[in-house]
């Protein structure tokens, strides 16, 4: 395959799902105005005027029903001298037909997307990694579009349901498709598939004439792994994390090459980002396992162990500590540090939702109830995000015991975290020893 051929192939692959996205946006546009009042008005205008449908974009089965109702009402006027069919009955029937039509469209759409786009990706054996990744990103963009516009569709389905006559009941009404659930399950499928081809993607220096599929895959897998960890999906996070670790090493090498023209300090700040990413994810793996009761911390430590075995001749721990010292001593805003700040804020929100907050008065019930020194150390204050970075936890809980490091050997941020954990640990032990009754 020539370079041109490959570029054309990638361009075509990137367009594979575009038609489906336009279709979905079109469906959303059609039902965007379907609020209960507007819907009643639309129904009346079409039922009352036999030519009104010529100006409306109403699905055919709905239109046929409207025409039938219109003929029925004309008949009533002929036979009884007036309309006798109540408005609620018309609203109920037409809303039901709208609902059936939309649900049928959604179900057909999701089935078609699975059959035409996702299943072939899952089953592709001899595919070129770049081509497959390009197609997967097309699907991921499509799933994002589906999820984004699902609110519009769900709102329309809610509007139809509001016109449902309760005494008449659910007979003939379709069950509502779980669009977001479908998006999540398909997202998971393609995320796993992407992780399977990720290491086959070219990680050599970036060519500006081509899409950066390696870079995009790296970023995607980081976000997907973090999402899976924080949303308690150990199956997915367990699948993604080991691949991500391998990618991070390749990413650091590629960054070093790509940024070779920059001065050393600036380049170093950016080149260490993938290494920090792996430590950060590892730290969050432990935080969320403590928080949610299940997780992949064991897998994370096993993956790190393997890394050390594979790099037995390299001073990996020294390198990691250096990276951390360099990062924690730097106050320059980098894309990586901005992302980490955002994640600390997001995670602190989860802590608050669960009720783990530190108000610094030593009496916080939630902390005491959990009685977990790590969670207590990370418990956010009334304002702001977490007090500590997640990668420091990796250092304190894995790196230090793994290599017999004392707290004094650690960078200041990890030291600070370690001391905090020890303090809470002592506190909880003392309370247990004193037989404090908290029932």
């Amino acid at each position: 395959m020539t370079v041109d051929d490959e570029n054309i192939r990638l361009a075509l692959d990137s367009r594979e799902a575009v038609g489906y996205r336009y279709f979905w946006i079109g469906v959303a546009d059609e039902v965007r105005g379907h609020k209960p009042d507007a819907l009643s008005e639309l129904i009346n205008s079409i039922v009352g005027d036999r030519t009104a449908h010529l100006h409306s974009n109403v699905p055919r089965p709905v239109l046929q029903l409207m025409e039938q109702i219109s003929a029925g009402i004309s008949y009533e006027t002929l036979v009884e001298g007036r309309r006798v069919t109540p408005q609620w009955w018309v609203d109920h029937l037409i809303a039901r037909e709208f609902s059936k039509s939309l649900v049928s469209t959604i179900n057909n759409f999701t089935k078609t997307v699975e059959r035409e786009l996702i299943d072939p990706i899952m089953g592709a054996q001899q595919e070129i990694a770049s081509s497959l990744a390009q197609r997967i990103f097309g699907v991921i963009d499509l799933l994002d579009t589906v999820e984004y516009f699902s609110e519009v569709l769900n709102s329309a389905l809610n509007s139809y349901a509001e016109l449902k006559n309760l005494p008449t009941g659910d007979y003939g009404w379709p069950s509502r498709p779980e669009i977001n659930e479908w998006v999540r399950s398909q997202h998971k499928r393609v995320s796993i598939r992407l992780s399977e081809v990720a290491l086959d993607l070219p990680s050599t220096s970036h060519d500006v004439a081509k899409p950066d599929l390696f870079g995009r895959t790296y970023r995607f897998l980081f976000d997907a792994t973090f999402d899976a960890i924080s949303k308690n999906d150990p199956e997915l996070s367990g699948h993604l994390f080991p691949t991500f670790m391998r990618m991070a090493n390749l990413a650091a090498l590629r960054l070093d090459e790509d940024l070779s023209s920059m001065d050393d300090r600036e380049r170093s700040l950016l080149v260490i980002e993938p290494i920090i990413d792996t430590m950060e994810l590892s730290g969050y793996a432990l935080i969320f396992e403590r928080l949610l009761g299940s997780g992949i911390w064991t897998l994370v430590t096993q993956t790190w162990d393997r890394t050390y075995i594979e790099n037995a001749n390299s001073p990996v721990s020294t390198y990691l500590l250096s990276v951390l010292r360099f990062a924690s001593g730097n106050y320059t805003l980098t894309p990586g540090s901005v992302g980490r700040s955002q994640r600390r804020i997001d995670v602190s929100r989860i802590f608050r939702t669960i009720g783990i907050v530190n108000n610094y008065d030593g009496e916080t019930e939630a902390i005491l109830q959990h009685r977990d020194p790590i969670l207590a150390a990370y418990a956010p204050g009334d304002l702001g995000g977490l007090d500590h970075e997640a990668m420091d936890l990796f250092v304190v809980e894995y790196l230090a015991p793994r290599f017999g490091l004392t707290i004094a050997d650690l960078p200041w941020s990890a030291r600070y975290l370690g001391e905090s954990i020890s303090r809470f640990s002592d506190e909880f032990t003392d309370e247990d020893d004193s037989g404090d009754d908290r029932e």
Binding site: I73, Y75, E76, L78, V79, P86, W89, P167
Partner: protein, 339 residues
């Protein structure tokens, strides 16, 4: 002719007959009877549902003696209504009301004669039993001098009027007329007028001839269009009472319309039933004056006009579904199903 046995005497003067009579009398009878024809026949049957058949007995008879008379016998009332010795009171009452409903709708007034049976050939003061005798529709007329007469076949009487119609004189005090209220008359007149005209056209076989030509291609008559238009006309004609012609012509009818129409027909039937019941009570009590009793017939478990109106309001306001009110109405408004 009468129920009087040997040694007994009957007060009955009217006749129930099937023979042909004078043409003018025939016309009177025709104008007061249900016309021959499919639609009229179906309507007559459906009008009998003024009391639903599916139910347990709904009629009850309460009798109390007047003055120092003996306690009355309910079996006597059952026999009087049905003419059968083994009839039970509730069956006799329900059957009487069911049979009266179509007659009254098509005749506007139905005359009955109270026939008294006396044990003694000469003593008129102590009747032993009584019967309620239907008089064929259209045969009774009250003359200007206030004397009621019945036109009868010529072999039953020597009396003839100026137009050559044979008649017998009836006893005014033994006659009773079941009638329609003004409200009911207003509803039924356009219905019966329409049926008399349309059934006559059917009888003349004009429609059959056209349909036959259409089937053989001898005419351009569009059969389906013809049936549609016929259905529209019939349904419009039945609108005052709400009868749905058993949905024979339901082409453009919405489910909601059919439910509404069933309710309308039920309301008509309830109003008609109430009217017949009131007249029947008055009739039994007219006989009770001679026998020394007071009677009160009641129907239970059937809907009132107010309940039908409430169901209509519930339907119009979406508190009841179309299928629920349809089922309720078609079962005579006796029980709501969970639909």
């Amino acid at each position: 002719m009468t129920a009087a046995g040997e040694g007994s005497r009957s007060s009955r003067r009217s006749y129930y007959f099937y023979e042909r009579t004078h043409p003018l009398v025939e016309k009177r009878i025709r104008m007061a009877s249900a016309p021959e024809g499919q639609i009229s026949g179906l309507l007559s049957e459906d009008l009998k549902f003024v009391i639903p058949y599916e139910n347990d007995s709904v009629a009850s008879l309460n009798l109390s003696p007047l003055g120092d008379h003996q306690a009355p016998n309910s079996q006597m009332i059952a026999e009087a209504l049905s003419g059968e010795r083994r009839a039970t009171p509730h069956n006799a009452i329900e059957t009487f009301i069911r049979q009266m409903a179509p007659r009254l709708v098509f005749s506007k007034e139905v005359w009955v004669e109270l026939e008294y049976i006396y044990d003694n050939q000469f003593d008129d003061t102590t009747p032993r039993a009584f019967f309620i005798r239907m008089i064929p529709p259209g045969t009774v007329e009250v003359k200007r001098n206030g004397v009621p007469i019945q036109y009868v076949p010529s072999d039953r009487t020597p009396l003839t009027d100026k137009k050559g119609r044979s008649y017998v004189e009836l006893e005014r005090s033994n006659l009773f007329a079941f009638t329609l209220s003004d409200e009911l008359s207003k509803s039924t007149k356009p219905v019966t007028d329409f049926l008399r005209i349309s059934e006559r056209e059917q009888e003349d076989a004009r429609e059959m001839e056209l349909l036959s030509q259409a089937a053989s291609g001898d005419t351009t008559l569009d059969l389906s269009e013809h049936l549609k238009q016929k259905g529209d006309i019939v349904n419009r004609a039945m609108s005052p009472i709400g009868w749905d012609v058993r949905r024979l012509y339901s082409g453009n009818q919405l489910e909601s319309f059919q439910s509404w129409r069933q309710l309308k027909f039920l309301r008509f039937k309830v109003t008609l039933r109430n009217r017949i019941l009131a007249d029947l009570n008055a009739l039994i009590n007219q006989a009770g004056q001679d026998f020394g009793f007071q009677a009160n017939i009641e129907l239970s478990g059937l809907p009132t006009v107010l309940e039908v109106d409430a169901a209509m309001s519930d339907f119009e306001n979406g508190r009841k579904s179309a299928s629920a009110v349809y089922q309720w109405a078609i079962l005579g408004g006796t029980s709501w199903e969970d639909r």
